[in-house]
Each structure stands twice: as structure tokens, then as C-alpha cells.
Subunit: 341 residues, 2 copies
């Protein structure tokens, strides 16, 4: 009998983080079949409580014992925690959906966006990785365009919100905004540069050849999710003073010509995508409007004037929801449907 019959015992690891909190909201909003719910976090955060579905849940310290009897473990507590505890959760019998980068590029671990490659869930040996928050919305759009016209090249410039770096940067931005409003000089401690009244093309750890880790995640994860290991992908990642929702200015060069109107039409019927592109000149998605929603919004779809088969577009998505918690819960839902969970 599927474990779903009696509901699932779920653990959220990293329960007090910005994505952790979003997990509780998403589980409640989607009426996920929860038989029991544990909020796990570091020793430091244990002892407090989190809200779930109108109730208060105590936050317990994460250790091996806390994972016993768990069917589904949703991890978002950083790569180090996932490297140590995800295998222990699997040993204890759980399916892990891991929002960290720890397992994403492991050949034995599926990296899944349900709208794109749900079939990879079947390959899971216990851990399924949730992709980077900028990569998820991008691959949904790319996959839809690819089915119609093939894909040759992708170039992305991002406008990423503070919450992508976690609660500390959200709080630091809030404090900086108060400083600016009061005529004081804003100060940075979490991030290498002040974010208020600024944009910062970095703050992620360096990777190689001048790229940072965030940019290489977009390159490598996009290839893996699309099963297109040689797809040409370039990226520039920039942090902007926005609390929630990531935006991306994207060039897509297709193998076969695709008119903007045709792209608009096919994206409009792609599950999980909302096209917001006119008729008025200022009808396009912005992160302030998209924050808190579930869909991937696409606007400003037009011909790239610098190439023959290029389209330019503007993609916005809530990085805590579709970019993280929502996608992970959708992966779990599909795993249940597929009998993997």
C-alpha cells in the first residue's frame, strides 16, 4: 500500500529559514497529505516554534534520531547540512527533496523541475535535488520553447532578490532601507557591498574563470535538467535591492525561427507559466507584483535585434516558492503519484 493512504510523516529541515518557512505555507496551501510534521533546525534555532496551518510547531534540533520514522524530508539548511544528514534520512527510510546545492550535480541524483523532467524522479535512490532558484523558472520557459523550435543558446542576466541569500540579507536590506530613509549611511556586514540604493554583480563564492558559483549553477543545472549537456549557456548574476522574487533578462536562440507571437502563444499554454506581455506598454511582470505567487511570469517577448533566431524575454518568479519550496513540494507530489514515495 502506498504510504499516501495514511498520509506522510514529513520533516522540514532548516525550518526557521526563509525557504523553511515557505515550506510550511506551501504544504498547508496545497493540502499536502501530512500525517505528521516535524520542524527541524540547528541547535541554535531549536526550542522556538514555527506556524503551520494555524498551529504552532516546536522546532527540534536536527540529529539522526529526529529523522527516524520520517517518510519525506524537505531539506533547506545549506549544503553542509544536506551532505551530512540527507544520507542519514535516506537510511532511516525517507525520501529527501534537497533544496541545497550539495547533491544537484551528482550523477546518481535526479535534479527535477516537475514541468520539465518529472520522469527523472523514477531514477531516485533516495535523494532528489531541487534546482537553483534562478534555474527553475528559466528551464520551464526553455523547455517549452525547445519543444517547438529547438535550443541553440541561452544567455541570462539576473536581477536576484535578497531572500535568495537568506534571512540575514533580507534583514540587512531592511536595516539599510531604514538608514537611507533616515539620511544615515547604510552599512553592509552580511553581504560584501551595501545592497540598498545599489545593485551588486556578485556576493556569491567564486567558481572559476571569473564566474561565481551562482552563475555556474545556472549553466550546469540548466544543462542537466534539460538533458542537454552541450547546450550553450552564459550567465551574469546580479543582486538587487528587492526582498522577494528573482527576475531575468534572457536571450534564447532557437534552432528554428520562432516568431515572438508564436512564443507568446506557446508559453501561454505551458503549465506553470503566465504570459504578461501587453497590450499596454507597461504590462510586464515585476518582482513586487510576482512575490507570493506560484507561477513563472514571462513578458517583453520580442525579437533579439542582434541575432537571426534570437528572442529576448523577461522572466520573473518567486524565488522562495517556485524557485524553492513550491518546486520541492511539487516534486514530492509527483513522487507520490509515481509510487516512488
Amino acid at each position: 500500500m502506498s504510504r499516501r493512504g495514511r498520509g506522510l510523516r514529513v520533516a522540514v529541515v532548516g525550518a526557521t529559514g526563509v525557504v523553511g518557512q515557505e515550506f510550511f505555507r506551501v504544504l498547508a496551501q496545497r493540502a499536502f497529505p501530512v500525517a505528521g510534521l516535524k520542524a527541524l533546525a540547528s541547535e541554535r534555532s531549536a526550542g522556538g516554534s514555527v506556524r503551520w496551518d494555524g498551529r504552532s510547531l516546536p522546532v527540534e534540533a536536527l540529529d539522526e534520531r529526529a529523522l527516524a520514522g520520517v517518510d519525506l524530508a524537505l531539506f533547506s539548511a545549506g549544503a553542509d547540512v544536506s551532505r551530512t544528514f540527507a544520507p542519514l534520512a535516506v537510511e532511516a527510510g525517507a525520501l529527501v527533496v534537497d533544496n541545497s546545492s550539495a547533491w544537484r550535480m551528482n550523477d546518481d541524483v535526479p535534479l527535477v523541475v516537475p514541468e520539465v523532467n518529472a520522469e527523472d524522479i523514477a531514477r531516485s535512490e533516495g535523494i532528489i535535488a531541487n534546482p537553483n532558484c534562478s534555474t527553475i523558472p528559466l528551464t520551464i520557459v526553455l523547455d517549452a520553447l525547445r519543444r517547438e523550435a529547438g535550443l541553440e543558446r541561452v544567455l541570462v542576466a539576473t536581477y536576484q532578490s535578497a531572500s535568495g541569500a537568506g534571512r540575514d540579507l533580507v534583514l540587512e536590506l531592511e536595516e539599510q532601507i531604514r538608514a537611507v530613509a533616515a539620511g544615515r549611511r547604510p552599512e553592509a556586514s552580511v553581504y560584501p557591498h551595501v545592497l540598498a540604493h545599489n545593485v551588486v554583480p556578485g556576493g556569491w563564492p567564486p567558481a572559476r574563470d571569473g564566474y561565481n558559483e551562482e552563475e555556474m549553477k545556472i549553466v550546469n543545472e540548466t544543462r542537466k535538467i534539460l538533458h542537454a549537456p552541450r547546450l550553450r549557456v552564459g550567465a551574469t548574476c546580479v543582486r538587487v535591492p528587492v526582498p522577494v522574487a528573482h527576475s531575468e533578462a534572457v536571450l534564447v536562440e532557437t534552432e528554428r525561427a520562432l516568431e515572438p507571437e508564436a512564443a507568446r502563444e506557446l508559453l501561454g499554454r505551458t503549465p506553470g507559466v503566465v504570459v504578461l506581455d501587453g497590450p499596454g506598454p507597461d504590462d510586464y511582470p515585476t518582482p513586487a507584483a510576482v512575490a507570493g505567487t506560484d507561477e513563472v511570469y514571462v513578458g517583453r517577448i520580442r525579437r533579439d535585434l542582434s541575432s537571426d533566431r534570437g528572442l529576448l524575454m523577461w522572466i520573473v518568479s518567486d524565488n522562495l516558492r517556485k524557485g524553492a519550496a513550491l518546486n520541492a513540494v511539487q516534486v514530492a507530489e509527483r513522487a507520490v503519484e509515481m509510487g516512488v514515495l
Copy 2:
């Protein structure tokens, strides 16, 4: 005898605007040979005063009479004012350097970035156009790369500050920041969307095929300044909640391969350019750091992973200075040197 001998009678048209105010600072800082200085503005702004070199200048209403006897008229009062009054200033004997878009694409009007095409000043019949604030820094970088490796294609995503839209948006952003800091809901009236805690891929008048006027300025002005009418240029323009300085994430595809290190080296010896690109992972320019400076800053120079001969880079420049007032005054300085003024 050159008019410079006795100094020049200068008029700033649009004296109370954000660029107008910058004109006065730049003229003083560069010790421009001013024999007399007039601050001109609309009827509405006349009667007030502006600061210049420690003195207070009365603001006079702009009319034909006010332009009599002026040698150099620096215009930044919008395209309509320039269309009406720039020809009158020329008739009255002045050289006009016009910061509006009114004359930029006119075949008889040079569009000049002194570092790139100062020689075009000699073609002037009285009006010289100052390019768009995003285009000026871009063309300085492109010209340097072109001399070494040729140019095939350019793609730009911008992060443009509020001051590019004028004082009203700067004030609106300030008020929105105060609202956010106080927990109130920010409101938009000048711009089509709230800018605080947001990024807005629009707000410029629509051009055609889904492009707005700002994007088409980058495309068309870049081609004109570089004398490269068929250069492939694409652009996405985005407004960000930054008061001053525009940033651009840029792809440059060259005709011949150019290593990032070679690009860094050649940009490092390009007049008007500062390379800020390491050695630390967070050594790159940001608008907060660049605001108030004269140079074009370039960082994050690296190979584009999506093309064979592409370089990605990050360009930041003060849109009120090198993007507007400083470039215009530099044009006037070169005009003096060339005997045009």
C-alpha cells in the same frame, strides 16, 4: 581670434534639472573658460537660483532673447525644448551641445563621445548631440575592443538609476523608500510601477516590435557613434531602485578571438576607463561606489560560455556625469581645441 581667449559666454538650458545641476558642477570642477554663465529654465522654474562655483545664479526664463550673445548653449530640458530652441540658439550664434534625444539621429547632427568620435565635431553645423546615458559608456568600451579585435555583436541588459528619468523619479523613489522603512505601502505616480523594492523593465515610451525608446536609442546611437550602421545590437532596459549611476551587463562578440586578460589590459589603458576586476572576488564596480565619479568602470570581464568569441562584462558609469553633463562639457572642450567653438 578664438573665442576662448576671452572666455565663453555659456548658457545652461534646463538649469534646475538633475543634469542641469550637474552641468554647473562639471563646469566649475573642470575650470571651463566661462566669461559669463546663464541659468535658463522654463517659466515655471524661473525666479529661483542655482549654485555655481560658490556663487548663486538667478534662473531666467528661456526665450529667444535670453539666448542672445551666448557662445555655448548646453541643453538638457527635454526633446521638445531642444527642437524649438536649439535652432534659435544656433541662429543667435551659439554652438549647442544638446543632451536630449531631439537631434541625435539627424544625419546632419554629429552624435559625439569625445573618446570615440571627436573628429565628428568638425562636421557640426551648430548642434552637436550628446548621446543617451547608457550608450556613452558602452561605446567607449566597444570602441576600445573593436580597435583590437573587431566587433560582431553586442547585447546589453541595463540596470538604470532613477535619476535617468529626472528629478521627479528620484524624489518619488525617496518617498517610496521612506514608506517602506515606515511599513507603509509605497505608491507610484511618476513611474508606471513602484520602484522601491522592485525592478521595472520599462517605463520608457514604446517604440516598435516590443522595444521601448530607450532600447532603440542604445541600438541606433551605438551604431551611429561607432560609424557601424550594420552592427548587431540588442538591448533590454530595466530601471532599478538606485538614485545615480547606470550599470550594464554586456555581451560583446568580437570578430577575432580576444582573451579576457587581453581585454582587461587594453581597457586598462583606454582613456576614461577604469578596470576594477579583482583580484578579490568582490572587486567589481557598483553604482553606489561609482556615483559622483567621471570614469567608465568595467569589471567581471570573462569569456561568454555561450559563444566562441564572446566576452561578458559589467559596465558602470555615473549617468548624470559621463552619461550626460560631463560628456557634453568634454564635447565643448574638444570643440574649442578644434576651433569649432
